[in-house]
């Protein structure tokens, strides 16, 4: 199982740049890049901050998916 996210889609919907979102959740832009690529799984704190920014519950942004073969 892997953790996937909808950060890229939600960011576009909220008209936020990677830099803008990074500033709001207090991380570097590179972390947002890695998050969107799926190469980084955020901490619960960062996930909650992102959920707060998009005003959505965490499970609507981050979800489990079976690993592709």
């Amino acid at each position: 199982m892997v953790i996937k996210n909808r950060v890229k889609e939600l960011r576009a919907r909220h008209n936020l740049t990677q830099e803008g979102l990074a500033e709001r959740v207090n991380v570097t832009r590179q972390t947002i890049v890695s998050l969107e690529k799926g190469s980084y799984v955020p901490s619960l704190m960062l996930a909650m901050n992102i959920a707060n920014t998009f005003k959505l519950p965490i499970e609507e942004i981050f979800y489990l998916e079976d690993e592709e073969e």
């Binding site: 991380v27 570097t28 972390t31 955020p42």
Partner: protein
């Protein structure tokens, strides 16, 4: 990339430090000779080129990093990039890798010291060179791990 720049500066500084210490070692050999036989003149030579280069390099590096990173804690190495949780994780992994490299490098370096009696005449400062291999291995491992995990 900052980590490559900072790491390279540390590696060059270490090499210069080793070079400087080798010079000092030669000088201390001369001083020991004098203490054994005080009838001869108190004369020794020191190569100050690496010392001067090291001072210039460290000065420039300190000024440069102070200018761009004012909020950074002074006593932490410059290679530590920990501005957010992901960078902290990458740094933690790199430190782990550096520790593992120490475990493997240490016995090899100790074995290398066994060759000292064979070459002590030709390279009297051989232990200094060998000893500097340990931090060099660790710093290079740290940099490689950081680079690998940052992508």
């Amino acid at each position: 990339m900052k980590i490559v720049r900072n790491g390279s500066i540390i590696i060059v500084s270490l090499i210069l430090f080793g070079w400087m210490m080798s010079g000092f070692y030669q000088a201390s050999l001369d001083i020991v000779e004098f203490s054994k036989d005080t009838s001869r003149g108190f004369l020794f030579e020191i190569n100050i080129v690496p010392f001067l280069l090291l001072i210039i390099l460290s000065g420039m590096f300190t000024l440069f990093t102070k200018r761009i990173k004012k909020k950074k804690i002074l006593w932490l190495p410059e290679e530590f990039e920990e501005s957010d949780e992901r960078e902290q994780q990458i740094t933690a992994r790199a430190c782990r890798a550096a520790y593992i490299s120490m475990i493997y490098a240490f016995p090899i370096i100790t074995v290398l010291l066994l060759f000292y009696p064979f070459i002590s005449k030709a390279i009297p400062y051989y232990p200094i060179i060998v000893f500097i291999l340990l931090p060099l291995t660790q710093i290079m491992t740290y940099m490689i791990s950081w680079q690998k995990n940052y992508k």
